[in-house]
């Protein structure tokens, strides 16, 4: 930005450095956090107490001034995150949000008809499971800790991490084991 070089408010070097930071943030970081929580109950407890501090333990820095609340899915509760006002999102651990997260249909409807919204993502939550929707703010961001799928007891960390997609940490889908490819004869 030239106004910055003229007025020395900010430097072009800072923009370049921040682009590198943005590029370094992908859902793989969130997946790393989730897998660690699945495998280590004491870490999970710390993560649920203070999401930011637990992520920082894993070397994930928070470049913004936000708090992170991690929401644990259970057999009885399914969590979903949204930002009704704009596009707040747990960027340090997930990177930048997808366009649909920033557009009106998701922002408007997630808080009033979450089951219908989830169904549009192919996610059907049983009626006896409560759905909790958390609305992000400038200062408080959320991350969903998905349920570990059954049948993954023998999985390696890398195999588990592959199940933890961005959308499972937004809460629009559940973490699932990919169905075996059916071979047609």
């Amino acid at each position: 930005m030239s106004f910055s070089s003229a007025k020395k408010l900010i430097g072009p070097e800072e923009i370049r450095r921040q682009i590198e930071v943005l590029d370094s943030r992908t859902p793989a970081l969130g997946a790393q956090v989730v897998v660690k929580a699945w495998l280590d109950p004491t870490f999970r407890a710390r993560l649920l107490t203070d999401g930011r501090a637990a992520c920082e333990e894993l070397g994930i820095s928070f470049y913004d001034d936000t708090r992170l609340i991690v929401l644990e899915n259970t057999d009885k509760v399914h969590n979903l995150i949204v930002c009704t006002l704009c596009s707040c999102y747990p960027r340090p651990v997930l990177g930048l949000p997808p366009d649909w997260y920033k557009l009106k249909p998701y922002r408007a409807r997630a808080v009033i008809e979450p089951r219908a919204v989830l169904a549009e993502f192919g996610t059907h939550i049983p009626d006896d499971v409560e759905i909790r929707v958390s609305d992000s703010t400038a200062m408080v961001r959320y991350l969903v800790l998905p349920l570990r799928p059954e049948g993954t007891e023998a999985y390696t960390e890398a195999q588990l991490a592959a199940l933890v997609t961005r959308d499972t940490m937004i809460g629009v889908v559940r973490a699932t084991i990919p169905r075996p490819q059916r071979t047609s004869l």
Binding site: F3, A6, L22, Y63, L85, L96, P98, A108, V111, I112
Partner: protein, 121 residues
């Protein structure tokens, strides 16, 4: 809610619970200028020049028509300019001069790329 109370109670960004159509699961790789815009927002925030709330209010004050028609980062960059004017950090004249400079730079790039001497192939 009557129209009047709806207008008074809700700013244009405040759409939680509003009626809306189906979710189209669209996404795109950011254009280079969009990523620069995002990084600029972060750097302005680090320097406490424009914070997240100011940015959101800046977008809201573009008004419903502009919000509906501009893309996400177009709204941001327009909001940044307005906020910097309001804070007297930047003047419209300074921005206009700089935009002219950038425009002339890209024109000379175009001239160069149309020059058969530098065109590849």
């Amino acid at each position: 809610m009557t129209d009047t109370s709806a207008l008074l109670n809700r700013l244009v960004n405040d759409i939680g619970g509003a009626q809306a159509g189906p979710i189209e699961q669209v996404e795109h790789q950011l254009e280079p200028w969009e990523k620069r815009c995002h990084a600029l927002a972060d750097v302005l925030d680090f320097h406490k020049i424009i914070n997240t709330e100011e940015k959101r209010r800046g977008v809201e004050s573009l008004g419903e028509v502009a919000i509906g028609k501009l893309t996400y980062y177009e709204r941001w960059i327009a909001a940044f300019a307005n906020i910097l004017f309001q804070k007297a950090i930047l003047t419209p004249t300074e921005l206009a001069r700089q935009m002219d400079l950038v425009a002339s730079r890209s024109t000379s790039d175009e001239v160069r790329s149309n020059d058969p001497a530098v065109r590849s192939g």
